[in-house]
């Protein structure tokens, strides 16, 4: 179980995450939010890549707030697959083994489930976008993380390919039964993937009963923007 309590984070004077609390059980929790609302920042704090200003993070009741990323046993899947370019697909997926994580047998099973047997010896740059996403997911799952953090892993893909990948990913993730925190700005992706939903609006996280409701809240929040240009707090900096 992942428990986030009262998380806050500013960059300089810009408050990006505002007192966020969230509990994710063995489910896929999708957080919907616009560009720049703070989704990635939240995930990076949970992963330990960024330090928060306030708040606590508990994974399976263990307080990991002060631990570096390598001691948190979380899986992090970034937006661009960010595969290790100089390694083959096989070496990418087996990377965690070097640090004594994961198990060979599990990895074989993952490879099969994600249908990447045929590309194991290729370099990442020779892969299509869809396959890069699969390899990225496999690389992270191979390390047997206690929590999955996924930062729009499909948003660079074509709709047609996305349509095929989403059910696959859902199947794989559900099989593991660990908490998954999945952020996206795509409604249909949220609908197809998620068990439970939240929306993030300018650093504030709120629960929603469904993906549609979450999206509705977001849509409301931008009506101002559309009429009068970006308000100060919506500016990127």
């Amino acid at each position: 179980m992942l428990k986030i309590a009262n998380l806050s984070k500013s960059f300089g004077t810009h408050k990006v995450i505002k007192n966020v609390s969230l509990t994710v059980g063995s489910e896929i929790r999708v957080v919907l939010g616009l560009n720049g609302c703070g989704k990635s920042t939240m995930l990076k704090i949970v992963a330990g890549i960024l330090a928060s200003d306030n708040g606590k993070i508990l994974i399976d009741k263990r307080d990991v707030t002060a631990l570096p990323p390598e001691d948190r046993h979380v899986g992090y899947v970034p937006q661009q697959a960010s595969l290790f370019k100089h390694l083959s697909v096989r070496e990418n997926i087996r990377y965690c083994l070097r640090n004594g994580r994961g198990a060979e047998a599990d990895i074989d099973q993952l490879v099969e489930m994600l249908k990447i047997e045929n590309v194991l010896d290729k370099k990442p740059e020779a892969l299509s976008g869809g396959f890069q996403s699969r390899v990225s997911l496999a690389r992270t799952l191979a390390s047997q993380p206690h929590v999955m953090l996924m930062d729009e892993p499909l948003s660079d893909l074509d709709l047609a390919i996305k349509e095929k990948l989403i059910p696959e990913f859902r199947k794989v993730l559900k099989k593991l039964g660990i908490p998954v925190l999945y952020v996206t700005h795509d409604l249909s992706e949220a609908q197809l993937l998620g068990d439970r939903f939240s929306c993030m609006i300018e650093g504030v996280l709120s629960d929603a009963d469904s993906a549609e409701k979450a999206f509705g809240l977001i849509r409301e929040s931008i009506s101002d923007y559309d009429l009068h240009g970006p308000a100060q707090h919506q500016l990127r900096n």
Binding site: P68, P69, E70, V74, S82, N99, S143
Partner: protein, 264 residues
């Protein structure tokens, strides 16, 4: 923008009026003017001089070691540039980085001599580190390091930071992530730093003579060979030896270029 129409049609304006003539006039023409001063007797005499070949050997050895040392230290600097941008150490290192470039070379040699000569490093031998091949390497390193550091820093600026974040979550300490993921991504930058600092090392003489000692056959390098030849008034031999420096540097550039192409 390879092979683009943009290229084919309108290249000729800014270049022809600005860059091409200046490049030829200021860089290529002097080198050509120099090479026309090569004379057969001077070349022959140089090539038959055993001390010349000793200095070639010393130069190659010392410059390769110095350039490698530059690369190693600049890797360390790259690490700071990546992970510790806000630390005091990094800020100091960044400010200090370029100082050796600005120091006149004779005095750079003096600085090294005072630092590693026998007053402070007497335990290392009767002359400290001075007047040994180690001294030659350190002198070359001192003047060349800033170039390697700059190259690596700009490589780090172009790197994919997310892949390092992923490596961390897969269990890597910063050191491991740096060595396994960042370093391979910096290959190009490291090559570039290596080539530059190797070339710079070839040309250094004032610091090398002062600290390295310039004993023919033992610590004399090409640049100090050139200097003594100029002092002797043997211009043709000096030009030959310099041509050799250029030759060495070109070979390195071409070798590195080929190695790069093969991998790609």
């Amino acid at each position: 923008m390879d092979g683009s129409l943009m290229n084919k049609i309108m290249n000729k304006d800014l270049i022809t009026i600005l860059f091409t003539p200046l490049l030829f006039l200021l860089i290529i023409y002097p080198i050509v003017a120099l090479l026309t001063n090569l004379e057969v007797p001077g070349v022959r005499e140089t090539l038959m001089d055993g001390l010349f070949w000793d200095s070639v050997k010393n130069t190659l050895l010392a410059a390769l070691v110095a350039a490698s040392l530059c690369v190693i230290l600049s890797i360390g600097f790259g690490y700071c540039h990546l992970f510790m941008r806000n630390s005091l150490l990094y800020k100091a290192a960044n400010l200090m980085n370029d100082l050796p470039i600005a120091l006149p070379h004779t005095v750079a040699g003096l600085a090294l001599l005072l630092a590693f000569g026998r007053t402070n490093f007497g335990f290392a031998g009767p002359t400290g580190l001075a007047f040994t091949m180690i001294a030659v390497v350190l002198a070359m390193f001192f003047v060349s390091y800033p170039l390697a550091a700059r190259a690596v820093a700009s490589g780090v600026d172009q790197m994919d930071l997310e892949s390092i974040a992923v490596a961390r979550t897969l269990g890597d300490t910063p050191t491991k992530a740096f060595l396994r993921i960042a370093l391979p991504a910096l290959r190009e930058a490291l090559f570039s730093g290596f080539v530059l600092s190797f070339a710079r090392s070839l040309s250094e003489f004032a610091a090398v003579i002062m600290f390295g000692g310039n004993v023919p056959g033992s610590t004399q390098v090409l640049a100090s060979y050139v200097f003594t030849k100029v002092e002797e008034g043997e211009v043709a031999m000096a030009v030959t030896a310099s041509g050799f420096c250029i030759f060495l540097s070109l070979i390195l550039v071409v070798l590195v270029g080929q190695g790069r192409r093969r991998r790609a």
